[in-house]
């Protein structure tokens, strides 16, 4: 049996997750290529494929109806589909538009009515196709992707944490943002990143989406009581990466 075939596909997004993968560096990528064949990867190679794929890494959110067909075609010829990065997993930051109607004018001014700008709500790719695994984050963590791929190469189930970022901050003995008079959303944000932002003094923005069953009422209260947010800001804050996951 040959090496499993791996392909990257991009939808609505900045393609930063593909770039992040290249940040693994030459040595690590060449080592990985001993075990997989990369057959399509727009940010790093010209070749494309219409063949069957073992592992499809789908990046970007689903924002146009015509993307559905392409997503379905990828699903049909892929053994495993991984939603790769925040946009594919939850709609990501693109989904902020789902709650606004004046963004075309704000962003594009006179060009607001250009036809290619017309698109629907930004949705996770799971709105169009079945997803087997999620590589969360903005950008998706390259190290986590390697862990997921390694587990799949060993016919194992990848361990993707569902506990919140607070667990990782404590393991790192990071001083809590709230203790420093700041805000944070690590209490409801899915971990797995290793909590680098709070360790650098930056609040967690929940780029990996929410944990299962986030206590959003409590989040609003804590952001208001401890970080001094207005109610509007408390609600809006947690929408940045998770607009599709809340009302």
């Amino acid at each position: 049996m040959g090496k499993p075939k791996l392909a990257f596909f991009d939808f609505t997004g900045c393609e930063g997750c593909q770039i992040e993968f290249t940040n693994l560096g030459e040595e690590a990528i060449l080592a990985l290529l001993e075990h997989v064949d990369i057959v399509e990867f727009r940010e790093a190679m010209t070749e494309t494929t219409t063949e069957r794929i073992d592992i499809a890494l789908v990046e970007g959110s689903f924002t146009r109806e015509k993307d559905r067909e392409r997503l379905q075609s990828i699903r049909k010829r892929s053994r495993i589909v991984i939603a790769y990065g925040a946009c594919a997993c939850t709609g990501g930051i693109n989904a902020l538009r789902n709650h606004q109607d004046d963004y075309h004018e704000c962003v594009y001014g006179a060009d607001a009515r250009m036809p290619h700008l017309q698109s629907g709500p930004a949705l996770p790719i799971s709105a169009a196709i079945k997803v087997d695994y999620y590589a969360h984050g903005c950008p998706a963590s390259k190290d986590e992707l390697v862990r997921i791929l390694s587990a799949l190469l060993h016919n194992d189930t990848p361990l993707i944490p569902s506990y919140p970022v607070c667990v990782e901050c404590k393991r790192n003995e990071t001083v809590c943002r709230f203790d420093e008079g700041d805000y944070c959303m690590g209490m409801v944000a899915r971990a797995g990143c290793g909590a680098p932002c709070p360790a650098l003094g930056i609040p967690c923005e929940a780029c990996r989406g929410f944990v299962d069953e986030p206590n959003l009422r409590s989040l609003e209260t804590v952001l208001m009581e401890r970080a001094g947010f207005s109610q509007e800001r408390a609600i809006g804050k947690s929408r940045m990466f998770t607009a599709n996951l809340r009302s």
Partner: protein
């Protein structure tokens, strides 16, 4: 097992002499608070700390600890204990370490913890500053701190070092100590007695009364739902606790897909997946599915379930959980008081 005195001027050189001969871990400043870290110089040491983010158990039971490395057919252990002096442990954390010592020794002795524990000399120190959420003078007061090798108390002009074991005695040669006078011993006793009763929070009930009432409250679901209403299930109350000892183990592969490492991580029973299990035929079950049942479980563990084994509650009153809880609902004094008051 003696009482020794060292002047303030000679204390710094003593700490530096320890650093020169072994790894020394002690409280240092970390942003707005404190943490146990390896000391590079005596000037890093902050014996005036109130409480650290994580308890000192992390020295023997690290948040992430590599257990074994594997490479094809070979498997080798990663546990390599390093001779260490753990300097500046408040008495409540000495009690916490004594509890994890017991728990990791019980039944199947846990070498991964005990190897580093046995390679460590613990020097306790008196409390010079009191954390705003502390209640160590009113919880489990019948449990005496033990298991440390020496106890250091700052008195006028210097320090009294009371050694408890041969490991503690061995430190004396590293500093300019002399035998303490009866007056100095008495002064240290007074310093340590003077902090008792000064904690900002106070648990007004005995260990036994709390244990009985909390256990009895198990079925009072409405109360537990109310107590846990704001809970995020983030596990911070667990991950900062000096007596929590649950862990999860997982394997990871290196890029060669042949070698890898087995690691254990601190786990937290407040998190949603902690009690999730797979049953026969791949069925899934979570035996503490609701956040209030997880919240209740923590209080059962801390106030009643382990009491017989530990000789007291599995809580030492450090107040770390109260501080770490962003929703501020984890404070044992407030929760236990609420439960106790519902009886009357």
């Amino acid at each position: 097992m003696t009482d020794r005195y060292i002047t303030e001027e000679a204390f710094g050189p003593f700490v530096n002499a320890m650093i020169a001969s072994t790894r020394v871990i002690g409280p240092v400043a970390k942003r707005s608070t404190f943490a146990y870290e390896q000391l590079e110089s005596e000037s890093d040491l902050r014996l005036d700390f109130d409480v650290t983010v994580l308890p000192p158990k992390k020295v023997f039971f690290p948040p992430a600890q590599q257990l074994v490395r594997f490479d094809g057919d070979t498997v080798e252990g990663c546990i390599e204990p390093v001779d260490t002096v753990l300097l500046g442990v408040h008495f409540y954390d000495v009690k916490g370490i004594d509890m994890t010592d017991f728990l990791f020794r019980a039944n199947y002795a846990d070498y991964n913890y005990l190897a580093q524990r046995e390679a460590t000399t613990i020097v306790a120190s008196n409390i010079q500053a009191i954390s705003p959420r502390a209640f160590w003078d009113s919880v489990g007061i019948e449990v005496q701190p033990k298991g440390h090798d020496a106890f250091l108390t700052k008195i006028d002009g210097g320090y009294l070092l009371e050694t408890k074991t041969a490991k503690g005695d061995a430190l004396i040669t590293l500093g300019d100590f002399r035998e303490a006078t009866a007056g100095e011993v008495q002064a240290a006793r007074e310093v340590n007695a003077a902090v008792m009763g000064r904690c900002p929070e106070r648990l007004a009930y005995s260990t036994d009364a709390v244990a009985t009432r909390v256990r009895e409250s198990f079925g009072e679901e409405e109360m537990w739902d109310e107590l846990a209403e704001r809970c995020f299930s983030c596990g911070s109350c667990n991950t900062v606790c000096p007596t929590c000892y649950c862990f999860d183990v997982s394997d990871s592969w290196n890029l060669d897909q042949k070698s890898g490492v087995r690691t254990r991580y601190w786990d937290a029973c407040l998190t949603r997946e902690f009690a999730a299990v797979t049953g026969a035929g791949g069925s899934k079950e979570n035996f503490r599915e609701h956040h209030s049942s997880r919240f209740r479980h923590r209080f059962m563990r801390k106030t009643t379930y382990l009491n017989e084994k530990l000789g007291g509650p599995a809580c030492v009153g450090c107040g770390r959980c109260s501080r770490a809880c962003t929703a501020d609902i984890a404070d044992p004094v407030r929760v236990i008081t609420t439960i106790m008051e519902r009886t009357s």
